[in-house]
């Protein structure tokens, strides 16, 4: 019985010879991270450094993109918040007592179309506002304090602000309408500058990435020149070689990009957490909203496409120099 089995074994073993190298766990991990199953070599030193460079550039690109989107959204929020509010400042006047002024102002406001509501700060509220500067109980009765009226307007159908200001001055001499416009304009202008700065950084990072990827792809190709030449000599078409090479670089680019994206997302989450605990950010970084994440996810895809297209153009140019 043992005889036939012994005869079968060698044949069976020959059939089972694996055609690709067996891999250890580390080898498999390396395969997932850096190797591509193509006729191009796995990422060697040059490939690994290309991955690292792309990771770093994608990290910077994601940070600046995230910052630009966040600042843009925040300034839009500010503009919306402020343009939904007005303040009437009622200065003491000799013409009529202050309470009568406030009453007249409130009456006019409730009659005005487009005003959703108005709250007059009482004298006590006004004194409370001044407390940090003047101290408690130091406000004397005869100190002429302006009274403030907080007005909420309908931002979709706002009242005619200029006419309103004029009527206020008529019904209550000393009443001034503050539209916050100057403050709002300056704030929004500052935010817009920050946003454009972030976009400029993004553009510089993108241009640098393209330049570095082009350079790294070329050096990667010259390291693999022998492979390209041999493929060419044994009758591979340019398209075949280009598609093998571009797939290789697409994988490298994608891996580097994903590493960079992961780092930047971790950074945003870290900043948000820090911002919450320290409460020290004028621009709330935690407002990197969920709808911005798809935009960030585009960063590694764009980086990988840049690497791929660069590789394709470079390899086709190189091949055209060969016969």
């Amino acid at each position: 019985m043992a005889e036939p089995r012994a005869k079968i074994r060698p044949a069976a073993r020959e059939k089972d010879v694996p055609l690709h190298e067996p891999r250890s766990f580390g080898g498999r991990l390396k395969a997932i991270m850096v190797e591509t199953r193509s006729v191009m070599p796995a990422a060697d030193g040059a490939g690994l450094s290309l991955i690292l460079v792309i990771a770093a550039m994608c990290f910077l690109a994601s940070l600046s993109l995230g910052a630009a989107l966040t600042v843009g959204r925040t300034s839009a929020d500010w503009a919306r918040d402020l343009s939904g509010a007005l303040t009437v400042e009622v200065k003491p006047s000799d013409a009529m007592p202050q309470d009568a002024q406030v009453e007249a102002v409130m009456k006019l406001l409730t009659e005005t179309q487009g005003v959703l509501g108005a709250d007059a700060l009482s004298k006590a509220d006004t004194e409370a506002l001044l407390e940090p500067w003047l101290g408690k109980g130091n406000v004397t009765e005869d100190l002429p304090l302006p009274r403030l009226v907080d007005v909420r307007i309908n931002p979709n159908a706002p009242p005619d602000v200029e006419a309103l200001a004029q009527r206020l001055a008529e019904v209550a001499p000393g009443a001034i309408l503050d539209t916050h416009r100057q403050w709002q304009t300056e704030l929004v202008r500052a935010a817009r500058s920050a946003q454009w700065l972030a976009y400029a950084v993004l553009a510089v990072v993108a241009a640098t990435t393209i330049a570095i990827v082009t350079f790294a792809t070329r050096s990667g190709l010259s390291a693999n020149r022998e492979v390209v030449e041999v493929l060419h000599m044994i009758g591979a078409r340019d398209k075949f070689i280009a598609s093998e090479v571009q797939r290789h670089f697409l994988h490298l680019g994608l891996r580097g990009g994903i590493i960079g994206l992961a780092l930047s997302v971790a950074t945003f989450i870290g900043l948000a957490w820090y911002g919450k605990s320290a409460n020290s950010f004028l621009v709330p970084v935690s407002s990197l909203r969920i709808e911005f994440y798809p935009a960030l996810a585009a960063v590694p895809i764009v980086a990988a496409l840049v690497a791929m297209i660069t590789a394709r153009i470079t390899v086709l140019r190189t091949l055209h120099r060969l016969l």
């Binding site: 020959e14 690709h20 041999v230 493929l231 000599m233 044994i234 009758g235 591979a236 078409r237």
Partner: protein, 219 residues
């Protein structure tokens, strides 16, 4: 099959490496190409496997004038020519099996269609046990045989071999020569460039002799 008429070749503005070379390789023929180092053997082979163009003269391969052939049609001609390079030029990151199967892979064939043939060929050249080894771990003779297997795997019409016995001992040289003669019997035209006169005499085939760029034919 391959015809050279008054072919001359120079690199850049340098002197002519080949002068007025004329010969014809008929289908199913076996030839040797001999000559001292620097005589132009490798340059002549480069012209034949379409790695360079001649400076003058006419080369026709498989009935096509290569001077007027569009670049896009060259891969088809290259696939009909198997080459054993002097320095093997195996790809170090691929296994022996993958190296040998490469010409079939680039033709777009599915691996299932050629796996058995490639294994059989590897067994035939004595590399059946070394299929998954990578070239850096192969001995000189093993690399030589892997390079030969890659050159013949796609059953080319012509086989060009540059010093195929240069790195092996005389016994292995004879075995490889038998391999080439066997391939020639199966219908492949073979041209072997060599320094080894013993090899030429053992085979008794016609000899193209290059000397200072000029070709003479013996036998």
């Amino acid at each position: 099959m391959i015809r050279f008429e008054n072919v001359g070749m120079r690199y850049g503005m340098g002197p002519e490496i080949l002068r007025d070379v004329s010969f014809h390789l008929a289908p199913g023929s076996l030839h040797f190409l001999t000559g001292p180092s620097g005589a132009g053997k490798t340059s002549l082979l480069k012209l034949m496997f379409l790695a360079s163009r001649p400076s003058r003269g006419l080369i026709t391969m498989f009935g096509r004038d290569i001077a007027t052939l569009p670049r896009a049609e060259l891969p088809d001609l290259r696939r009909r020519v198997g080459v054993v390079f002097q320095e093997f030029r195996l790809l170090d990151h691929l296994t022996t099996y993958e190296n040998v199967a490469l010409p079939l892979k680039i033709q777009g064939k599915a691996e299932e269609s050629y796996r058995a043939d490639v294994k059989e060929l590897l067994a035939w050249v004595g590399l059946g046990e070394r299929m998954m080894a990578k070239p850096p771990t192969l001995s000189g003779g093993e690399k030589q045989r892997a390079a030969i297997a890659r050159a013949v795997v796609a059953q080319p019409d012509v086989l060009l071999a540059d010093e195929p016995t240069g790195n092996v001992d005389p016994d292995m040289g004879k075995r490889l020569l038998r391999l080439f003669i066997e391939l020639n019997r199966l219908g492949t035209s073979v041209l072997i460039a060599t320094h080894d006169h013993a090899l030429v005499e053992a085979a008794g085939a016609p000899e193209l002799m290059l000397n200072s760029g000029r070709l003479t034919i013996r036998g």
